[in-house]
């Protein structure tokens, strides 16, 4: 006997008018949600999960419309409701929170006022008590010193605090349903945990229903009772959380489950069951006694801090993990005296949250920026002594290469894929002619699994995974000995990530390279790396083998990081 559903979606189809004609972003989907339930909608990019939520709220883009189907909320037909009726519902009965919390707030309006706007609009407060109620709402989302924060502008708050304010706005009028669209993407894993727990606490206490839209299976598993899996606009599976995770029935769900990095598996296990097995075994660890490929000693990077450190910004810095600065403290140490080694053939993981200094470190090792002090030694030579400006012309340049995080940003939009891959060959490899360059490019494309017919395309004509392959091909073109990978799969769908990680492992074995793998994702690091370094506030807090750091961490911070990773209920 099913209880009356709070939200009932039947046969929903959403179409968009695009240059290429009508596109169906969502096709005949059925979703139902009871009161107090938490539903996770999981899918990769293009699955239509966000479009579904926009359709429920009726805030679709101008080009989009609900073509078919019905959406019923508390017995009311949302599809045919008038705009003014929807406006009454939004924020008071159904609320939504989005990704990128800082951009979601009005930058030139005090956050207290923004909360008041919502309260006054839905009759939850009068102008006489609006301020008091707004402060109360801020308290409920655990914002410290709410009377002070009432007067703050979004730019004065950290990302995590901004998301709390966004949640405050959404929950101020006690809606029945909260839709959260990737609310923690882009936030650090510890902040993510705090935000999700806040959402869970508040929604449970008020008997609210929640829809959590995410690409992260682990997140859905940890926080949702029911899960719906979407692929290319269709629902492929809908079941209770435990069922999905213990016994997924649809092929796509199984593929997603397999592709999600988790403890206790190897890289090969990420691929779909029927995928071709990669040819090489995991290579043996670097033999001891060989000279170190890369040595970093006492590396420091300082930046001038803008303005004074005291006051609001100083204490805020203290809250989200940065150093609390004293007035007159003009320098900021992004990297505060670290040292590590990488042996030939070894893969070293560098993990930490935002602001820990890992990206700055990798930039220095890459010789794109200069260290303030300290040494960087490559095969015994002090490459830190060569200024970054001149490094492009140094003979060492071709031995150290990088795969960038954002494949779109790191490819010249006016270069075809072939030209981008050929660039290092043309610049750094003397004695090659046009024909052999072309042959080399095709060979490299083959190595990374990029079909040769895509070589003539421009970046905007390639998919995310294809662009990532171009970036990798370019990086390995001259068989560098050290490749730095800066979050290379962060922007990719999880199934694409699985393929790319396996590819990276294969290439490392085939070409005998070492990796410095920078990431915030501990599971990914464990799969690809031999050793791991954990950074915090510019310092190394723990290092050791991957198994040891991730299964038996010594430092409290590492334990905190690992505990914050969401995982399915066991």
């Amino acid at each position: 006997m099913a209880a009356a559903q709070l939200l009932d979606i039947k046969d929903l189809t959403v179409e968009f008018a695009t240059r290429r004609g009508l596109v169906r972003a969502v096709e005949k989907i059925d979703i139902s949600l009871a009161k107090g339930e938490t539903l996770g909608i999981v899918g990769e990019s293009g699955s239509g999960k966000s479009v579904t939520s926009y359709a429920i709220m009726r805030i679709l883009d101008r080009a989009g419309r609900i073509a078919e189907g019905a959406i019923t909320f508390g017995g009311m037909d949302l599809r045919s409701a008038s705009e003014s009726r929807m406006r009454d519902l939004r924020g008071s009965e159904i609320s939504m929170i989005f990704q990128n919390p800082r951009a979601a707030l009005n930058p030139i309006r005090k956050i207290g006022k923004q909360i008041e706007d919502v309260l006054l609009r839905h009759g939850q407060a009068r102008s006489s008590d609006a301020r008091e109620k707004a402060i109360e709402v801020l308290t409920q989302v655990r914002i410290a010193r709410p009377e002070e924060r009432y007067h703050a502008y979004p730019f004065e708050l950290s990302g995590g605090m901004c998301q709390r304010v966004v949640i405050a706005l959404a929950l101020a009028c006690r809606p029945q349903l909260l839709i959260a669209d990737e609310p923690t993407t882009g936030l650090d894993v510890t902040t993510q945990k705090a935000v999700m727990e806040l959402i869970v606490e508040l929604t449970r206490a008020r008997g609210m229903s929640t829809i959590l839209i995410t690409h992260d299976l682990g997140l859905a598993a940890a926080y949702c009772g029911k899960v719906v899996v979407m692929e290319k606009g269709k629902v492929v599976e809908a079941a209770k959380s435990e069922t999905i995770f213990r016994a997924p029935s649809h092929r796509y769900t199984r593929k997603l489950m397999r592709a999600t990095p988790r403890p206790g598996i190897t890289l090969r296990d990420l691929l779909p069951e029927d995928a071709a097995q990669p040819s090489s075994e995991r290579p043996s660890k670097a033999a001891k006694g060989r000279p170190k490929l890369l040595s970093v000693r006492n590396l420091v990077k300082e930046y001038k801090r803008q303005g004074q450190g005291g006051g609001l910004s100083g204490s805020l810095a203290g809250i989200f993990g940065g150093k609390k600065t004293e007035p007159g403290d003009a320098m900021f140490r992004a990297v505060d005296g670290i040292g590590f080694d990488i042996a030939p053939g070894e893969s070293l993981g560098l993990v930490g949250e935002s602001g820990c200094g890992k990206s700055t470190t990798s930039m220095m090792v890459m010789r794109l920026i200069d260290p303030t002090s300290g040494g960087i030694f490559f095969k015994g030579e002090d490459i830190g002594a060569v200024p970054a400006r001149n490094f492009a012309r140094s003979p060492w340049r071709k031995h150290i290469q990088m795969v960038f995080q954002d494949p779109t940003d790191s490819l010249n939009p006016r270069y075809t894929a072939a030209r981008a891959i050929a660039d290092p060959l043309l610049r750094l490899d003397d004695g090659t002619d046009k024909r052999s360059t072309r042959a080399r490019v095709e060979e490299l494309a083959g190595l990374v699994g990029l079909p040769a017919n895509l070589l003539g395309r421009f970046p905007h004509q390639l998919s995310g995974g294809q662009k990532a392959r171009v970036g990798i091909a370019r990086a390995i073109a001259l068989h560098p000995e050290l490749v730095i990978l800066d979050e290379p799969t962060a922007a990719l769908d999880v199934s694409v990530q699985a393929v790319v990680l396996n590819l990276l492992q294969e290439l490392k074995a085939t070409l005998g390279m070492s990796y410095l793998f920078v990431s915030h994702d501990l599971h990914v690091v464990r799969l690809l790396c031999d050793r791991v370094i954990v950074m915090r506030q510019g310092r190394i807090v723990e290092e050791g083998s991957a198994e040891q750091v991730l299964e038996a961490p010594k430092a409290a911070y590492t334990r905190e990081l690992i505990a914050a990773i969401p995982h399915p209920p066991v």
């Binding site: 709220m57 805030i59 101008r62 929807m86 406006r87 009454d88 519902l89 939004r90 924020g91 008071s92 609320s95 939504m96 989005f98 990128n100 951009a103 979601a104 707030l105 009005n106 930058p107 030139i108 309006r109 706007d117 919502v118 609009r121 839905h122 502008y153 730019f155 004065e156 966004v166 706005l169 959404a170 803008q306 303005g307």
Partner: protein
Amino acid sequence: MPTQIAKRLATAIPTLIGVVIVTFLLTRVLPGDTAVYFAGPAATPQAIEEVRKNLGLDKPLPAQFADYVKGLASGNLGQSLSTGQPVLSDIRTRLPASAELTLSGLLLAILIAVPLGIVAAVRQGSWIDHACRIVATAGVSLPVFFSGLLLVYVFYYKLDWAPPPLGRLDVFHSAPHYVTGFYLIDSLLAGNLDTFRAALAQLALPAVTLAVFALAPITRMTRASMLAALASDFVRTARANGLSFYTVIVTYAFRNAMLPVVTTLGMVFSFLLGANVLVEKVFAWPGIGSYAVDALIKSDYAPVQGFVLVMGILYVLLNFLIDLLYGIIDPRVRIEG
């Protein structure tokens, strides 16, 4: 807040210095013998020599510059050959006329362009949106002197609604008692409605001409900036929280959209002050623009240089005020800067 003002003033000063240097250079770049130009076409060789000594043209350049600056400090911008008066007093007398014209034109433009841009952005694709885009493109393409002449032809010659384009007041009225120099304000202050009406009638066409000119950049910027604001994440949040149409458009979108518009005001003023010169010529408006143009035709150089200098200084001050205004509106600048 006072530190903000001081900081901005500090950046304005080097610009002022630059203005003075450039105008000084312009006086020395005249082709041929500078003294000949300042002495006038009818001067005798002795007169030319006297002018040369007066201007200190026989001294080395740095000394000349020092003299020039000293002269400026004591308000000496040279003498006009055609009016026989010191340039500074000529400019002072004529400045209110230009100011009244420019400000009226700008005000009129803002009153039309901003609402037009807002509505065009909110009702994208509607006829107002298309009208806005046409206004923007046509306004930019129309030479300001041409539109002035067209308006004269239609409203004066054909329809007889406007008075002849002969200046600030017709022969039947005299200027009101001088308080601000703005005829509209002064006549109201004196309670003289008749003069007010006459002044308004004379001001109408030239102000509309300037307004048409300024409409285009303002409405284009308002529309573009409103579109960007309406597409932003925070407006999406406001909508998702069910805020009213008015709140979303005005409190959330418009206030943010106005920021880029204020920044473009500086550029709009640059165009306006230039267009002012042309409009003054078409309507025989006795402002500093026509003063400079008349002097140019008569090869009288001191007024032209005085004009360029005064305009430069005025413009720097205007930009400084706009910067201040922006700093007041945008808390990010106020608090972090």
